[in-house]
Symmetry: C2
Subunit: 311 residues, 2 copies
């Protein structure tokens, strides 16, 4: 009833080689095998495809028509096999990665650079978006993995969440608030100072509000910024005191433009996590990238074991 696709392969090779014998060699089979395959194909298709003659075979008119299609078919298969081999050798591929600004600059970019140097053929698509958006894209399979700042103990069905390191925060002030450097402050004491912080849409904002509330204080920034990297410059300009990820403070601290305010309360801390879909297939090239990202993992005290966290 239905024609075996292997026959078409034999047909294609025979047509390009120009003889049954040559085709047999190319296919690593014997000549009678090719003869038989073509004869079968001709019977199934109901028309002659080759004219046998001395020195080889020649396509009939119908054979030529058939070849036109079978040729592109076979070429596609051959190309498919090549591309698949490249995929396996990590010579090509594509990974979509989600990240926050914070994690992108502080964790991801150096690792991506190393990975890209090792596997230059693999396209890296970086998606810098809000944390909730990235999480839903991970679940939808629109992103392959992400490195995000999430609350301590964060977990989600469908997602593997591997903590990489703490995202520590620091309360800082510019030299206009020099009086705060003298001694340890409590959060309530700091409430009377103008605050530089995140705007309302972010997850971190909500967490900070909770953290402040936990210590009988209120987080209500006088200046709200959309991205973390803007806080330090604003603090340097003495527009207020700020609670920022430690990673952003190093340069300004070293230059003496800001100083750290010691806090009585245990400091606000988040997790930087590597996240990816639990039961979805990953591109082959992603395992290497995951390993690369995991290499920055720092052992930190974990209150309880977390799902998906490797030993």
């Amino acid at each position: 009833m239905s024609v075996s696709y292997d026959s078409y392969k034999v047909f294609y090779v025979t047509a390009t080689e120009g003889s049954f014998t040559a085709a047999a060699q190319a296919l690593f089979v014997t000549q009678p095998s090719v003869t038989h395959a073509i004869k079968t194909l001709e019977n199934e298709l109901g028309c002659r495809l080759f004219v046998r003659s001395r020195g080889g075979v020649e396509l009939t008119r119908e054979g030529s028509v058939l070849l036109k299609y079978v040729k592109t078919a076979c070429e596609n298969i051959i190309e498919a096999e090549e591309v698949l081999n490249q995929l396996k050798k990590l010579e090509t591929g594509e990974i979509s990665i989600g990240a926050n600004e914070t994690t992108l600059h502080n964790c991801l970019l150096p690792q991506l650079a190393k990975y890209h140097a090792k596997y230059p053929g693999i396209r890296l698509k970086i998606n810098n978006n809000s944390t909730p958006a990235i999480l839903s894209q991970l679940e939808d399979g629109k992103l392959d993995c992400a490195v995000l700042v999430v609350p301590k103990g964060f977990h989600k069905e469908d997602l593997v969440v591997e903590p990489l390191s703490d995202q520590t925060y620091m309360m800082i002030a510019g030299m206009g608030f020099r009086e705060l450097s003298a001694r340890t402050q409590s959060l309530r004491q700091l409430e009377k100072y103008p605050l530089v912080g995140f705007c309302e849409e972010t997850i971190s904002r909500k967490e900070m509000e909770a953290w402040f509330a936990q210590h009988q204080a209120v987080y209500r920034p006088d200046i709200e910024l959309a991205t973390a990297d803007l806080i330090v410059p604003v603090v340097v300009a003495n527009l207020g005191i700020g609670l920022v990820p430690s990673a952003f403070t190093e340069e300004a601290l070293a230059e003496g433009k800001i100083f750290r305010i010691r806090i009585r309360e245990r400091l606000f801390v988040q997790d930087i996590c590597l996240i990816y879909a639990k039961d979805k297939p990953h591109p082959l090239c992603m395992n290497e990238l995951l390993e690369q990202i995991r290499s920055i993992r720092q052992v930190s005290p974990q209150p309880k074991s977390r799902k998906g966290s490797p030993s």
Copy 2:
């Protein structure tokens, strides 16, 4: 070593159906068969193609990449089979036909019209060229068949020559030469009249020269024309007497513009033959056309049986 192309077909159907079970139904095999085929393919390719899950299977990243190529491959095969079926049903196809002006108008066109009415999908390419050019194109496979005026007994290695009918000639004159109508003339007697005939390149010209010479006369037209259909009008204009294929004379004879000169000698006659390559493959749609053309064949006395001529 090499992957069976049948596996790719199974892969394609499975990917489009979305489950092994559905693919099995579509392929008229059992589900374990599909399971096995895909597993084998995955092993041979060295990577997982589907994620098995509740309710069916889902392509992995690599599977998606593979599908992109395999899809066009399979679609080409399917299209190939469709086109081939059309070819077999004579719904499509192409025939290249050679002809002389004489045969084109008198034999071929009516038959081609009938054929085309019956098989409108088949393209007919008509090549109106010189006889030697057409013969060599037949041998090169550039033409599929031809209807030509050739010398009696014409034959050629590699070519099948089937006589269809005689190409009879007629000596005619316009009313300016009314005196010739009185009685039968010999060729020699006619030599003193101006002659309208073929120009030197044609085969017929050479044959006529031979025929004249055979009867102790010389064929040297005072007016030379490239095509036969021009002779009658020139004769009507009383520029000379002419030897032309009978087919061209009917209209002018009926209108009394010319008359026939009776000739003592046996009249010059040629063969109208259907000619095609002997050992070359023919398009499927050609057999019907050959039959159509043969239908005009007239039984004529054959001095000896000719090769390729059916009973």
